[in-house]
Symmetry: C2
Subunit: 288 residues, 2 copies
């Protein structure tokens, strides 16, 4: 029997922390734990984006670390902005590509920027999750479900990655006063129609998103009453993930309601909504 | 009998929201309500800074709106960063003076900037709370108590306001690559010695705090594991305050523990710690 299965079978278990990533066997482990009455804390963006609503119906599921690491955006959307109406969210949700774009802005080719990111442990051997924007699409799906209270299928979010970019485009953008950033954005119109996409965009050099450096993440939220809020911090790394996971574990120990999980659970019986791309002009002009 | 006293005497009351400001009669009303088993939500920074710890011993006290309005910094420090160790906090906590400094940066005199802020309803007839930095001192005391888990007397925080500044200093700063901002900052050293002050400082023009415009607020938190986090948003206004107050009211209705209040309650039996100024060099050079 696998160690994880043995662990889950222990009767005195109160909570499990899942940081293995991927859909299976994480999904089976989490279902088993929730059905047995355990608290579950996960950092698994892919799983929460794809199966968060049905899993959260099984018990208290907490996932602050699944998006932007220790930036407390998950609880903020579900709890602190629970009384508000959110119109749009926009952000830089992938530190690896943000670092690579910075290197290309300094003259590196795409291939060199990727090789350097792989050397530094930022990008994996198969870089597709980052450079083809699957990773930020999963994170954006989670944020959009919490912000708009609609079920969203992450595979429905249009993605343009950074493979086709190079130092020439970065330099051309800079001459015109722009920085190229991989922008994840979503908006809701008339309380119903949802637009979302991820693509490289030309961000004005003096905009807050332009000065998000290295592997940092940033998220801008526009709420009807709270106004325009911006959250910035390290988007990855073991220490930041540990801080977010431990915060969720403390909430579980204190019996704090799992606000974000409860919100996803309310979406379980609904079908994913249609998501159309924001397109090439807003929130910033497309860069490729 | 005053309407508030009549209201507090109603037996079916679950929660009260206090947005009157000032120490009395707010303190008496809140004590009465907490002792009668009501939930209390307040936006009163002055009262929470001065009497938060003893009041929070009486029952669930929530005060997200007391600092930086709808920026969810109170719950973030008490809850999301509950597992972390915070080394320093720094921010722009007063939108009125931030707007006035921007006007002076555009060439206005202190007197004209103040008159304009008063016309726009940003500054009061007696502007001392803003321009002499009593308001950000109260907010900094609340944040520092939550961040460092020590009791802090807001009157112990050294303050230098903006009365002595004018367009000449702003222009001189700009020529040298700086923007003058009223910076509230606090740090803890060796887990014990607390430094805090509020004063105009020369912020490098490319630093995040330099591009906090108008009546916006921003708070930077350095945590050992979560890293450097920045939160930005409108620091005042009725809509933003309402969003934060309603979020607390929803938490009260859901039975979410009052994390920040519980943290302050643990400090009630301790004496305020000694607070020394950060002084003229860090986090940025003093501007006056």
């Amino acid at each position: 029997m696998r160690p994880a299965v043995q662990l889950l079978a222990q009767p005195q278990l109160d909570a499990i922390v899942e940081v293995m990533g991927g859909i299976e066997p994480a999904s089976t482990y989490i279902s088993t734990a929730l059905q047995a009455g355990r608290q579950v804390i996960t950092a698994n963006k892919q799983l929460v984006a794809a199966q968060g609503p049905p899993l959260a119906c099984l018990g208290p599921l907490r996932f602050e670390a699944s998006v932007a690491s220790a930036i407390p955006i998950v609880e903020t959307l579900a709890d602190a902005l629970g009384a508000d109406r959110i119109g749009s969210i926009m952000g830089i949700l992938n530190g690896t590509t943000n670092s690579m774009l910075a290197a290309m802005g300094g003259g590196a080719s795409y291939a060199d920027a990727l090789a350097d990111a792989q050397r530094r442990g930022l990008a994996e051997a198969d870089p597709s999750a980052d450079v083809d924007a699957h990773d930020p699409a999963a994170k954006l799906a989670i944020l959009a479900m919490l912000a708009f209270r609609r079920r969203i299928d992450p595979s429905q979010i249009a993605r343009v990655g950074i493979r086709d970019l190079g130092p020439g485009q970065m330099e051309d953008g800079r001459r015109r006063g722009f920085v190229i950033k991989l922008i994840a954005a979503a908006a809701i119109h008339d309380g119903a129609r949802i637009e979302a996409d991820i693509r490289p965009r030309l961000v004005p050099a003096d905009a807050p998103m332009a000065r998000v450096h290295g592997a940092m993440n940033a998220i801008a939220v526009d709420a009807e009453y709270a106004g325009s809020l911006i959250f910035e911090g390290p988007g990855a790394g073991p220490d930041a993930a540990a801080s977010a996971v431990l915060a969720d574990l403390i909430r579980a120990a204190k019996g704090v309601p799992a606000s974000a999980g409860s919100l996803l659970a309310t979406l379980a019986d609904t079908s994913p909504v249609t998501v159309v791309p924001l397109g090439p002009t807003a929130p910033y002009p497309a860069a490729s």
